[in-house]
Symmetry: C4
Subunit: 327 residues, 4 copies
C-alpha cells in the first residue's frame, strides 16, 4: 500500500525534475541492471570482465595486491623454481656434483635443494659445485633464471612503490541536514596521506530508475551540482555539499523515494598528488540506505599544542556521525 503510494509519489516527483539527464553513458551500454548497484562502495565497478588470457593483466594484479600477498607470491615463486631445479639435479644424479655425499633420497634432495638455492640467488658458496656437463649447464641456466626473476621482482617492487594513489578516506554515510535555509546532501572526506593533494576536484553523479514516457523503467544519470567543487589544497578534511534547492533534481525526494528509485550517488574525486606530481583519481559510491537524515558529522580536526590543526584520521569512516536528531 505504502509502496504503491510511494511509487505514485515517486512518479510525480520525477515528472518535476527540471534538469535533464546526462546523455553520456557510463560505459555499461544498455546492460545496466535496475536492481544492482553500479559501483561497489570502494569505487570499483560492479561488473565482470572475462579476460582473454590469465597472463593479460598479470602486471595489474601483482601491482595492486597487498604487500603481504605480493611478498608471499614472490617467495612461493622462488621456492617453486628452486624445487624444480632441485628435482632436475636429483634426476641427473648427485654424483655429478663436487662436495655432495650421496645418502638417502631425502639427504640427496636437501643437498640438491641447497645447491639449487645457492645458484638461484647467485650466492654460490662453492662447497657444492657442479661437476658433470649437464649439471653445469643446468646451473648456468638456473643462475640466469635467478637474475631474470630478480630483475622482474625489482621492476614489480618499484611499480608497486611508485603507483600514484589518492589516499582519501570517505565518510561511511551521506547526510541530509539543514543547510543555508533549506537542506543539503553532504558527505565528508579526509586526506590521510603524508603528501598534499592539490587542485582537488569533486564531481557527483546520481543514478536513479526513472519511468520513461512509454512506461519503460530505465536507469538515468543526473549530475548533482556542488557549492564548491574544486579546492586549491586538500589538506585536512572537506565536507562536500549538494544543496537540495530548486536546481537539484532530487529536491523533494524522501528517503523512501530514494530507496524506491534505487538511487546511487557516485562520487568522483581527482587531484594532483604532490609526492608523484601526478594526477590521481578515486571514487566512492553511496546508495539510498547509506543516507542518514538529520544527523551531523562529529569533528575530526583537533588542535595540537600551539594551535596547529591536527587530523584524527581514525575518526573518519564508521565513527564520524555525532548524533541523530529528530527530522
Amino acid at each position: 500500500m505504502a509502496r504503491r503510494e510511494n511509487n505514485a509519489n515517486f512518479s510525480r516527483l520525477l515528472r518535476k525534475i527540471k534538469s535533464k539527464p546526462l546523455e553520456r553513458e557510463l560505459g555499461f551500454g544498455k546492460n545496466i541492471t535496475l536492481d544492482n548497484r553500479l559501483m561497489n562502495p570502494d569505487g570499483s565497478f560492479n561488473v565482470i570482465r572475462e579476460s582473454l588470457s590469465p597472463w593479460d593483466n598479470i602486471y595489474y594484479h601483482l601491482i595492486s595486491m597487498s604487500w603481504p600477498r605480493f611478498l608471499w607470491i614472490i617467495f612461493c615463486f622462488f621456492l617453486l623454481l628452486n624445487v624444480l631445479f632441485s628435482i632436475l639435479y636429483l634426476v641427473i644424479g648427485v654424483d655429478q656434483f663436487n662436495g655432495v655425499t650421496p645418502g638417502t633420497w631425502s639427504q640427496n634432495f636437501m643437498q640438491a635443494f641447497f645447491f639449487s638455492s645457492q645458484t638461484l640467488t647467485t650466492v654460490g658458496y662453492g662447497h657444492i659445485s657442479p661437476n658433470g656437463l649437464i649439471t653445469s649447464i643446468l646451473a648456468s641456466v638456473e643462475s640466469f633464471c635467478g637474475l631474470l626473476a630478480f630483475a622482474l621482482m625489482t621492476g614489480l617492487s618499484y611499480g608497486r612503490f611508485s603507483r600514484p594513489s589518492a589516499r582519501i578516506k570517505f565518510s561511511e554515510q551521506m547526510l541530509v541536514t539543514p543547510y543555508q535555509g533549506g537542506y543539503g546532501l553532504m558527505f565528508r572526506m579526509a586526506n590521510t596521506s603524508r603528501s598534499e593533494l592539490i587542485e582537488t576536484e569533486v564531481q557527483i553523479l546520481m543514478a536513479i530508475n526513472q519511468r520513461e514516457e512509454n512506461g519503460e523503467l530505465t536507469r538515468k544519470f543526473y549530475p548533482l551540482t556542488l557549492e564548491i567543487s574544486k579546492i586549491s589544497f586538500f589538506s585536512l578534511s572537506w565536507t562536500v555539499v549538494h544543496a537540495l534547492n530548486d536546481q537539484s533534481p532530487i529536491q523533494h525526494f524522501t528517503a523512501q523515494d530514494l530507496a524506491d528509485s534505487n538511487a546511487e550517488i557516485m562520487v568522483l574525486v581527482k587531484g594532483i598528488d604532490e609526492a608523484s606530481q601526478q594526477q590521481v583519481h578515486t571514487r566512492r559510491s553511496f546508495v539510498a540506505s547509506d543516507i542518514v537524515w538529520n544527523a551531523r558529522f562529529s569533528p575530526i580536526v583537533d588542535h595540537a599544542p600551539g594551535g596547529v590543526p591536527k587530523l584524527i584520521t581514525k575518526k573518519i569512516g564508521k565513527h564520524d556521525l555525532l548524533e541523530t536528531q529528530a527530522g
Copy 2:
C-alpha cells in the same frame, strides 16, 4: 560502365558535401598515396621511417616486442657474452685457472664456458677460479659486464611492465544500420583490461579521395561527428555511432561510393588508465571493405548470477555480428 556511372554519381555526391575538410594535415605532407591505406588496422601508420642508426630506437623495440621474444633476446645476449668471454679465456689458456683439468679442446671450452657463466651471473662457486693476471682482469671485467647487463635488463623489464596501454578490443567491422529514423555508421569496442579506463574520448576522422575544382584528385580529411564522444567510464562495451544525417559529409554515400573514393575511417581513442593514472591513446582504422550494411552486433554482455553484467571478451572481434538483413 557501372564504374563510370558510379564515378559520376560519386562526384555529384562530393559536390554535395557541405562540411569543409580539415585544414590540419596528418603529418604525411603531400606524400599521401591515393590508393594505400593511411593507417594499418592495428592503428600504426602505413609508413616507413628510415632511422638514423639501428641503435636509435632500440629501447622502443625492446619495450614494445612480445614477452617471449624479449626473453629470447635477453637469453641470446647473455649467451653471446658468455661465449665471447669463454673464447677469450680459452685463448689465454685454461692453465691460468685453478680447478681446471686441461683436456681436449671441447672439454677446455666447456670448463671456460662454465667459469664464464659463473662469473657473468656473479654466482662464483669458486671450484674454478682465475689464477693468472690476465684471466683475473678478464674475470673482473666480465663480472662488471654481468652487473651492467643485469641493470639494463632490470630497467627494460620495468619499462615493459609499466608501459601504459589501452587494452581496447574493436569490432572487426563497421556497420551501417537503421538509427533514429535514418541510418547510422557504427562500430563497437570493449575494455578488456582489469583496470578501468576513465574520461574516455573518441574522435573519428575520414579520409576520402576527392576531385578538386581543378580536376586534381586529392585526399581530403573530414571529421565525423558522434552522438556521444566522451564517457566518464568505459567499463564494458561502447557502441560508437556517427548518425548519417544532414550534418554528415557521407550522408548519401553507397557502399560503392565509399569503395570508389577509397574511404578510410580512422578511430582515435584516448582515456585515463586507472592502473597507471596516465592518459593512454589507441587507434583503429576501417576501410570501405570493412563496412557491413544492415547488420547488427550480437550481445557481448551477459549477466552473471546476481545480475552483475559480465563482458564476454572473446566475442568481440571476428564473431560479433549477429545477422545480415536484407538492405
Copy 3:
C-alpha cells in the same frame, strides 16, 4: 592606543575591499586558526595528519628524506638483518658450518656475522659454508631476503632519482616598492636547476583575518592579481609583481595593517620540468613580518665572458636585498 587606532583603521580598510574573497576553501574546513600561519615557509602546510598506520606512508618518507639519511637507513636496515641472522646462526651452533673454528662467544659471533653478511649480499666466498640442515635452510632464506631487500632498495633509489621537483629558490623577503607610478608588492625567484622549467605559472593567494558583518573574526582568502602570471621559459630569475592599484584588495594597507590582520601571502608555482617532461609544483609562504618596505633586490644575474647571462644562485635568499631606502 596605537593598536586600537590601527584596528579602527584596519576595519575601515577592510570595508573598502572591493574584490570578493574566494569561495573555495583551502581544505582546512572551518578549523583555520586566526593566529598561526597556514603554510610553513617551505610550502608545506602547518597541519598534522595522524596517519592510520606507520607503514602507510613509508614510501613517501623514504623518497623525500635527504640522501645521507636515506643511505644511513638502508645501511642500518642491512646491518640489522645481518645481525638478526647472525644471532640465529649462533643459537643453532657454529659447528653446523664448514670452515668455522669454534672459539669464544665473540669469535663465534664474528664468524657467524661474516657468513651472514656474505650470504645477504650473495657474495658467498664459500670459505664458510652451511653444513647442517637448519643452517642451510636459514642461509637460503637469508640470501632470498638479501635479493628482496636489494630489489626494494633499487626501486627506492630510482624513485628518489626520478622524483620530479621544481628547484626554485625564493627571495627571503617580499618588497613593497615604487612601481609604475604607484606601489608594487613583489618577490623574486630563480631557477637553480640544470633543467629548464617551461610554461611556468604563478598564483598568489592572500589570507587575512577579517571581521564579518556579524562582528565575527574569520580568515578570508583573496587572490592577488599579477602583471605577468605566466612565462614561456623560466631560465634565470623572475620578479613577480602584484601592483597595489585600485584592483588590489590591499591597496591602502600599511605594514601595521598587514601585521594586525595576520596577513599571509601564499605563492603557488607550477611549470613543466624539461628533464622529466612532467608538471611540477612548488610553494612558498610569506607573512607580514617578511615584507620589507622601500627596498629593492640586488642584481643576481652577471655577465660571463662573451656576454652570456649568468645566474649567481647563492645570492638568492638571505642576501638579495640591496638597500633600504627611506619611505
Copy 4:
C-alpha cells in the same frame, strides 16, 4: 653608410609593426643581451646557472649525457671504488687473507685488487677469502657498497631508457619563398623516432632588437602566427609556414633588416610521444644568418615498393635544400 640607411629603414619598418610585442617575458628578466642569441641551435638556453653545489643536479647530468660517456663514468666509478678498497686491504696486510701468497708489492696489490673486485661485484669465488677481523668487516662493507652502487646504476639506466624525448630533426635553414601569392617563412622538421608523435603543436616566437619611443634599444618578442599550428599525427615530415602577410610583424623585412635587428626565431614543439604516452617538448632556434631566400626544400619522402611513403631521415638537416633561385 649602407648600415646607417639600413638602420633608418629598419626603424621605419619597426614603426610599421602593427602587432604588439608579448608582455610575457622569457625568464631572462632585464638581463637580455642585444647581441647574443638567446637560445642555442639545439634548443638549450644561452645562459649559465651557477649551481648551489655540484651534487645538486647530478641525476640530470647522468641522465642526459651520451651512453658511451655514461658507461665510461660508471666503469670509472667501479674501478675507483675497487682500487680504494684494494689499497685498504693492502695497508691492513695480505696475510689477513686465505689464499693469498705474499709477494712483491705489485703482486700483493693485484691479489688485493682481484679480491676487491670479486667482493664488489659479489661474484665471490672464494679462492681468496678474508681471514682477519678487519678485512672481514671491510669485505662486508665493500659488498654492501657494491649492491648499493649497482642499485643506483640500475635506477639510472632505467631513468635514461625511459626519459621521454621528441626525436625531431629540424632543417638547418629557414626559407623565405613564394607562398600563396606572397611570401612565406618556413622550416621543415621530421619525426625520426619509431614511435608516433601525436597532437603535435608548434609555436614560433621571434626576438628582435627594437628602438623604443625614448630611443632605448630593447629586445622585444613577437609571436609569429602559423597557417597550421597543430596536427593530429606527426608521422613523416612537416613544413611549418609563417605567411609574410599583413598580419606578420616582419612582412617587409629584408635579409639585412633581420640581421640588423639581430632577429632570432625560436621554435617550440610539443606533442605526445606514444611509446611513453607522455607529453614531450623540444625546441630549435634560427638566427638571421640561417635564413635562405628563394630556395626550396628537396623531397625527403620516397615511396617504398607498394607505394608506402618512406622518410629518408638522413636527408633532413644539412642537405635538404634543393636549389637557390634568383630573388
